[in-house]
């Protein structure tokens, strides 16, 4: 028997949503833990919004179950679910003031709380999102960032068990987005409410979430902490979505004990841990992922033990401040990226377009992945 502490606050069990022949979500299995910040990450049409809407109650799963606090809620309409949502374009009521928008949830309760209580709660909510005194304003008098904070206050005033956020930063400009991400994270930590965010922005997901659920084509590809996903992606898709990486297709030449090697074009070998989800055998097609920061760009190849080096020609050089990004070309491997730190730049000197050098990586730095 699960104790209330370890019981997930929400669960999707084999939850699927079909619209006729169109599959929006297929066999989603996910347990959302109490107090965590979980993000659904994926491109548009991957099913992340469908997953969120099933939790909110706007979609009923075609198959499988949605559980809140251990209770099956498939047939519970949105207005009876103890969750609240921040909508993509905020969905603030334009015919009401800021205060009336925020008070909306409290005024739907039966018995209806006294107005003095509602007003006090609204003022507290406005202070929490740093908009004290904005209550009498009209919605269209507020900027995009302010509107978003109103939407946040309107949802949080109901003390939901889960706060659902549907691409809440999509309409904000970059600086504001960064501020809002920090603010959201602080709020989540201080309130202890479970946050579930939907986003297509990997940076946003990586910087805010405790766990990320990566989706594609209506299915969950991998769930894990940002670090897990970055360090141990299960396939090329995840590795590509979480941070930048270089991919080299080839065939598995050695496998065993969780590690292996892959031979790519030109007989070049990449060795490293295997994190394929499919069973991998020697000779199977797979891909090697090598992060740009794990490759060094050298003038000369120092034949160190446990290192692989190939001659490359620099195509472009992009200065990124802390790092410099090189796009280099190899006759067999094609173009790939190298990220050189300032220290490495200082040691090797900087390369210009057309310069030749050597790309070197430690054996074991690559990962052998499913090539999908």
């Amino acid at each position: 028997m699960e104790t209330p502490q370890t019981q997930p606050i929400a669960e999707l069990r084999d939850a699927s949503k079909h619209y006729g022949a169109v599959v929006a979500a297929e066999g989603l299995n996910l347990a959302i833990q109490r107090g965590e910040f979980l993000s659904f990450l994926g491109p548009s049409g991957c099913g992340k919004t469908t997953a969120l809407r099933m939790l909110a109650g706007f979609e009923t799963p075609t198959r499988g179950d949605v559980l809140l606090d251990g209770q099956r809620v498939n047939d519970l309409p949105p207005h009876r679910r103890p969750v609240n949502m921040v909508f993509q374009h905020y969905a603030l009521f334009p015919h009401m003031t800021v205060a009336d928008n925020i008070a909306y949830g409290l005024r739907q309760r039966r018995p209806r709380p006294p107005e003095a209580e509602v007003a006090a709660a609204v003022e507290r909510a406005l202070e929490r999102v740093r908009l004290p005194g904005y209550g009498p304003r009209r919605i269209w008098e507020m900027s995009g960032g302010q509107q978003q904070r109103v939407a946040l206050a309107r949802a949080l005033i109901n003390q939901p068990k889960i706060l659902l956020l549907d691409e809440p930063m999509a309409a904000l400009d970059k600086n504001l987005r960064r501020d809002m991400q920090i603010e959201l994270q602080t709020l989540q930590r201080s309130l202890g409410i479970t946050f579930v965010l939907v986003t297509h922005d990997q940076e946003e997901a990586l910087s805010m979430s405790d766990r990320i659920c990566i989706m594609r084509g209506g299915r969950i590809v991998q769930v894990g902490s940002p670090r897990d996903l970055y360090d141990r992606p299960v396939n090329r898709y995840v590795a590509d979505f979480v941070g930048k990486s270089n991919f080299f297709d080839g065939r598995v030449s050695r496998v065993g004990g969780g590690a292996g090697a892959l031979t790519a074009a030109g007989g070049i070998t990449f060795a490293g841990p295997v994190s394929c989800t499919r069973g991998v055998t020697e000779g199977a097609a797979a891909t090697a992922s090598l992060r740009p920061e794990d490759i060094a760009l050298r003038r000369r190849l120092a034949p160190a033990a446990g290192e692989t080096g190939v001659p490359v020609q620099v195509r472009t050089r992009i200065f990124l401040g802390e790092h410099t990004e090189y796009l280099v070309a190899h006759p067999d491997l094609g173009d790939f990226l190298i990220l050189a730190s300032r220290q490495a730049e200082a040691a090797e000197g900087s390369f210009g377009p057309g310069d030749t050098g050597f790309a070197a990586w430690r054996d074991g730095a690559a990962r052998i992945l499913d090539n999908d």
Partner: protein, 271 residues
Amino acid sequence: MRLYALAVYLFLYIPIAVIALFAFNAGRHASQFEGFSTQWFGKALSNPFVMEAFRTSLTVALASAVLATLCGTMAALALQSVGGRLRAAFDALIYVAVMVPGIVIGIATLIALVTVFNWLNPVLAALWPLGAAAPQFSLGYGSLILAHGLFSMALVIIIVRARIAGMDRSLIEASADLGATPWGTFRQVTLPQIFPGILAGFLLSFTFSFDDFIIAFFVAGSKTTLPIYVFSSIRRGVTPEINAIGTMVLAVSLVLLITAQGLLQRGRRRA
């Protein structure tokens, strides 16, 4: 080109301007201006036939506008959840209803009502308890209100539908998400959002019914609406009294139409 446009506008508006001008004529002829006076307004307003017709028109306009607004709004709301071919068929029928000439609606309504009454009245008389006179259905208020209401309903549906289409669907979801019941959402979010459209539909329906001559002429029975009164009295010669009535109707219609237009414009800006 500019001259041509000017000529068109003059042709359109000079008769109306002349009507309004001669309403203030001190003399008793509609073609000879003999000085400024408001006596004809007073005459019109104290003429019992005019006032009776005015009351009839007002009653019919109000009742048919209320009927059209209620039914039209409900239909527009219900049509949201109708999709595909059925929706296309409904849309087509609504637009046809607006475009069918008034004379056709008038004749059709007349024939339909008379047929139904001819069938219903004997049945009613037969079923009525002995000793009492059975009520008879006949043309009058009921048929005027129904005919006008039916036409105006199509107008209301079109206006309210446009308003619903321009409304952000996520507002309804947000309301449900915040714990409002479906009825609560309708009352607190949907209705305030589409209200300018409903009000505009009501005003247009009222104006249409108040001004209509053709349909009313066919189905009025023994009742006389203001346009019918004006039509029958000009056969006895145009007096400035008619001009005064025309000017008052024009003023009321313009105010209502401009208000309706303003409501729709404002709705569009906010949405």
